[in-house]
Structures are given as C-alpha cells and as structure tokens.
Amino acid sequence: MEKKLPTIEIIEKYCKGCHICVEFCPTKVLEMKGFVASVKNLEACIKCMQCELRCPDFAIKVSA
C-alpha cells in the first residue's frame, strides 16, 4: 500500500528564518532556502508535528 504523505504548508510571509523547524525535525524533512524554511524530503515525514508546534511564527501547517 502506498504511504499517504502529509502536506506541509510554509507561509513564507510569516517565516523569520530562525532554523528551529529545520534543526529539531527528527527526520530532517525541512531545509533553509535562503531566509525561509522549505520542504526538502516530504517522504521522510513521520507527522510528529514538532515543526508546527515549535514554529514561533505560525508559519508551518502540517496536515496529515
């Protein structure tokens, strides 16, 4: 059965580039693209929601 991937929405207007989501993602799904975070490897996402919980800027939304 194919794995159902979550969607990770990053609101670039809100992202201040603090790196918290990138550093604390346990499976390294995110990376910095210039000043803002972006999704690098969506397949690795385990939907732990830690990036959404720790984003101080309301910039990440994970929908499982």
Binding site: K13, K16, C18, H19, E23, L53
Partner: protein, 270 residues
Amino acid sequence: MAFDYDKYIRPGKLPHIWCPGCGHGIVMKGMIRAIDTLGLDKNNTAIVSGIGCASRLPGYMDFCTLHTAHGRAAAFATGVKMAKPEMNVILVGGDGDGTAIGGNHFIHACRRNIDMTYIIMNNNIYGMTGGQFSPCTPTGAKASTTPYGNPDPAFDVAKLAIGAGATFVARGTAYHATQIDKLIVEAIQHKGFSVVEILDDCPTTYGRRNKFKSVIEMMNRLKEIAVPIKAAEKMSAEQLEGKVITGVLYKEERPHYTGEYAKVIARAQK
C-alpha cells in the same frame, strides 16, 4: 488536520513583532491550544498584560484584551475579576514585568488567591527596553547594564509564587512545546491563583551577550536543564545542580478571593 490558530488571532495581525527564534510565539501557540481544549468563550475571557515583549501577546489574540501599564497586569486583572467574577482572566507577561516592576502586584495577587492564571515568560532579561538585567538574570550573566557580569542571584519565580501563596504553580519551557498547553489547561481549570512559568529564550538581547551562537543553542540549553518533576524526585542534589524542575510543582485548594468577597458583600447587606 493542522490546528487552526487563525480562529483565535485577530485578522491581519501576523506576522508578530517578536524576533526570529523568540519563544514567545511558541508560548502563544500553547496558550491558544489550551484555550481551544477548554472551549473558553472569546467574549467571556480577558487576557491582560503589562509592558514588554511578552506583554504584546494580547494584541494578537481575538479575545477581550487589556494592555496596561508596566507591571500592572495583576492590578488591572484584579479589577476585571472583581467586576466580573464569572470571567476567565488570563495574565501574560515577562519576568521583568512580573517580578520586578510588577513584583508587588504579583505577590499580593498570589496572597489573595484570586481565581486567575498568570503566564510568566521568563527569558532572563528585559528584551524590549534594550537588554537590561532583570531579577531573573542568572548570576554572572551579561546584560546591557551588567557588562562585567550580574552580581545578583536570580529569583526562582515558582518558589516566589509558592512562598507568596499561589495555589497552583507549574513550570515548562519553550522547547517542550507539547507540555505548555497541558500546564495552561490545568492552571486555568484550577480555582485560585495559578502561575505558569515558561522558561523562554531571548536570542537578541540575552543570547548574543552570553555566548549563545544561535537560537538552536538556546533551545538546546532549555532541553538540557529541564528535568520533569517525577524524574527529579529520584535524583540527588548534586545531579540537580544547574537544572530546573518542570511540571506541576505545587497545588492546593484554598478559598479564593472573589468567593470570599461575595461573602463580605452578603454580610454587609444583612
């Protein structure tokens, strides 16, 4: 589904003013999730703050909000609670606002045991006014007014609250995001004055002066120093050196102020 924070935020207010990596946003999110869990009515919930970075929080929240004078959040909130005892009153503020300028209001709100919840975001410094040291700045730490290191010992906000008579005291950190809303839910449910201290990071005015290379280093420090209360019970004093205990630290049931005051009114009207 992703949690819908926008439901509780005033439209057009984001992005907020806090610096990149500031933990206040994480605490605000935790607070919103706690309010959502409890299903508090927007029209029956007042969020009160003083002055400071953390005190900007009510401006973003779509509730009855009050942004008051420096350190006076507890005083104004007491007025709100006395006028409308059925209202849920939540206070937010920083360590400088709550324990220095508003120190007296804070301890007396604890003593009176007014049914309110005080969320103190402790980032060890006065961020907004330019990085002056606060009563929560650790000994030896550098601030704009202590360039050679702070000679003062720091306040333990939780111990101060317990000593002053608060009936619910808890502590969390901005790193442990999932714990924040649980602590706030318990604090709001508690009948009496509840204090939730959230250890926070200020990368701009504290981190840079105190050799933290990045926000991540500050977050990792919070991760390292926090010890859950259950684990701390099994640890020796040496092992707990330099650590802070997190979780619900104190809880007791005691008559709360508005209830007692209603009795005074009833006696006077006899």
